[in-house]
């Protein structure tokens, strides 16, 4: 028990840094920012796994030790308890008056009658009875230990299920614009994190097209702009041959498709541009995904056009509701697209796409570029790009939604095991385990002296009153 206690402390203590330092698993961007801000301490902390606490060897060591000690302590107890469940309570001690909750009284009945009456009535109220020549031993509350064992074993199952689910599952994210589609295939994901034993052939072959995205926001009041509802409508095909289904996806209402779950996790805007070269030929026409930067959906993004010479890059803001106040730079003041506008800068030079280093599609590498102009546009307006680079028309916008798609074969088991754990825990903490004894002896007047006593094996209230009840049933 002392080992378990100390390991539990260590586990609690070891989790603390996981909440104080940014973690790679949940916020990789914050980790890189932290490393940039703390060039001296950062790498040392990193080497101590403080940005990967829950995947660190020391955290793993603690919980492994805990579970080894759990198995080592609980599995033998299963055998012991099994024996106990099949045997009778121990004999009554000779001197009951040394025990707690002791009572004695005298009745005129015969000894054997008292014993028989006690056996029948105690048995009926759930006690396991062992009889002797002039005593009865009774015990109840075996469910306490059963529950305790169920609880600890269920914890082991939870751990196995979590590990199994993580190893054989995956988690991916993808951004889909209105009108665009997604087919469940590793190459279509923006990020894809498979477990160690994930088998790509297991990806369920569904596909969908995002037909519409809609959002509602609080207007006015202290929570002005807070999100009130968002919903993605899409056409879903569960397997290549199945019919098209109309599906609505909302936060908290994931879509379950044959072992995978699709969650709506975020959304944003994609301004649409038509860019023509000096000769009036279209060099780019699409909706570009811009990423929201604040609660009012001030969004930033880029368009890269590698085919022009020199190469052209557009970088800028999409503002769903253009703020009148420009003192802090281009800013949106409300998340809904009430007064959409873009605020763009155009760059000319080398986009740096050919040097082999992977680039973010949301950032422009401007090291080898020069800015040729800036402009603010509302839908329908066209910008004559400086230096005869042609025109850029801001034709409108679409919305996009981001989805998290996961597969976890372990979670059902983890759920069942945790329910089992709660069940066991409840028994283990609330069922009292106690023993009671009755001894009868003949008094000098030929009457029968009855003695009753009890013993609580665990801390649970009400021993005295329970023994009183037992005595009362005989008086």
């Amino acid at each position: 028990m002392r080992t378990a206690l100390i390991l539990l402390f260590l586990l609690a203590l070891a989790s603390v840094p996981g909440s104080l330092f940014p973690q790679r698993g949940t916020s990789p961007l914050r980790v890189s920012q932290y490393l940039r801000d703390h060039p001296d301490a950062g790498p040392i902390l990193d080497r101590l796994y403080l940005f990967d606490v829950f995947a660190s060897p020391w955290f793993g060591a603690i919980y492994l030790l805990l579970f080894i000690s759990l198995a080592g302590c609980v599995i033998p107890r299963v055998g012991v308890h099994w024996q106990e469940l099949r045997s009778l309570p121990p004999q009554a001690p000779t001197n009951l008056n040394r025990l707690p909750a002791y009572q004695q009284w005298v009745v005129s009945d015969q000894k054997q009658d008292v014993l028989l009456k006690a056996e029948l009535s105690w048995r009926k109220s759930g006690w396991r009875i062992r009889t002797g020549p002039d005593w009865i031993s009774a015990e109840r509350g075996y469910a306490r230990e059963t529950g305790n064992l169920i609880f600890h074993l269920a914890l082991l199952i939870v751990l196995v299920a979590v590990g199994f689910g993580g190893a054989t599952g995956y988690k991916g994210t993808v951004i889909v614009r209105e009108g665009a589609g997604f087919a469940n295939n590793v190459t279509q994901y923006d990020t894809f994190a498979p477990g160690r034993n994930f088998n790509p052939e297991e990806l369920s072959p569904f596909a969908f097209e995002l037909t519409d995205f809609s959002a509602e926001y609080q207007r006015g009041g202290m929570q002005n702009g807070a999100s009130r509802m968002f919903q993605a409508d899409f056409d879903l095909v569960r397997t290549p041959n199945s019919p098209v289904e109309k599906v609505e996806l909302q936060v908290n209402k994931p879509l379950r498709v044959s072992g995978s779950s699709v969650y709506l996790v975020g959304h944003g805007y994609s301004p649409e541009f038509t860019i023509k070269n000096e000769a009036g030929e279209i060099v780019w026409q699409d909706a570009a995904v811009f990423l929201p930067q604040d609660g009012a959906f001030t969004s930033t993004g880029v368009v890269k056009i590698p085919d022009t010479v020199p190469q052209l890059g557009i970088q800028g803001f999409f503002l769903p509701t253009l703020s009148a106040d420009f003192s802090t730079g281009p800013r949106s003041e409300f998340p809904a697209a009430d007064r959409p506008a873009v605020y763009l800068s155009a760059w000319l030079g080398d986009l740096g796409l050919d040097n082999g280093i992977p680039q973010s599609v949301y950032k422009l590498d401007t090291t080898n570029m020069k800015r040729i102009g800036i402009e603010e546009l509302i839908p329908g307006q066209t910008w004559e790009l400086p230096e005869n680079q042609g025109t850029l028309e801001f034709t409108g916008y679409k919305e996009w939604a981001s989805f998290s798609i996961t597969q976890d074969h372990g979670k059902g088991w983890a759920l069942v095991a945790s329910m089992l754990a709660i069940f066991g825990l409840t028994l283990s903490l609330l069922v009292p385990r106690r023993r009671a004894w009755l001894r009868v002896s003949e008094t000098s007047e030929g009457a029968t002296l009855c003695e009753v006593a009890g013993l609580a094996k665990t801390e649970a209230p009400g021993l005295t009153s329970e023994i009183e009840k037992l005595a009362l049933s005989l008086k």
Binding site: L5, F9, F54, A414
Partner: protein, 332 residues
Amino acid sequence: MQIDQSLAELSDLLIYGAMTTLTAGMVAFSVALAKGRQLEPISNSENRSIEISHQLKMGATTTLETPSVTTSNAEGAGRRAGNIGMAVMWLSTILIGGALVLRGLSANRLPWGNMYEFSIAAGFSITAAYCALSLKRDLRWLGLFITIPVLLALGLAITVLYTESAPLVPALRSYWLAIHVTTAIVCIGAFTVGALLSSLYLIAEKSEDRIKASTTATKLDQLAKRLPNADRLDLMAYRIHAFMFPLWTFSVIAGAIWAEAAWGRYWGWDPKETWAFITWVIYAAYLHARATAGWRGRRAAYIAIAGFLAIIFNYFVVNTVIQGLHSYSGLN
């Protein structure tokens, strides 16, 4: 969804009302503690039995009766103050409960969707649990210690955490929210009482030690005289924790189910989840400590208090500061 502002304002008024009555309750309970009789002699049982056998031998001695006559006036005042305190606690419970109901009606949803409402609800669960428990036994000695955290919770809520009544953001709209948050509130209320009892146990236990060692009495001993003895306090604390631990476990699991439905993973070690886990492990350690030789009593009580501090940290620090710590980067 329309917000009924007048109901929301009435709800705020009831909170101010409850703070007033709780303050009155605090005064009444202080008087009750200062003037009240000793609940149980806390001198150790040996002394007590000596006293009793002495009494038996001598018959009812006048020396024992005289002081009890002089204390009975003060005792009466203490008892009256305690009764006033209890009545005020019932009133406060009704006021806070009313504020919650009105708040819920004003936005047409369960009234626990933000830190303001959560604090009010936790305050309610503490006073309601106290009143309910006091139906079965005399808990006037505990009243003062109940009013303090509830006043703090309401005070912080109405000043620092205040949020206008509003509909929920989409992420919070789930019946698992109802289940997860409701159970969490109940547990936090009960764990608050548990931590109070464990703290009082520590005071009583130290005081009993001092009396045994016949060292000079301190102010705390005066307090301890008005409390149940250390063993009983310890047992009460244990019962609350043991009763609540399964519910807390359930609450954490309900949170995981909700997280699965909302974010696609049932456990992600975000700071909030991490601290829920830490709290759970500390309380498991408490239950183990109670079954480990050398750890029962004082050490177990410290663990229970540590569990409560983890809850408070999760609520106030993780909800506000930890986010803030990270938002320095603007990447929030």
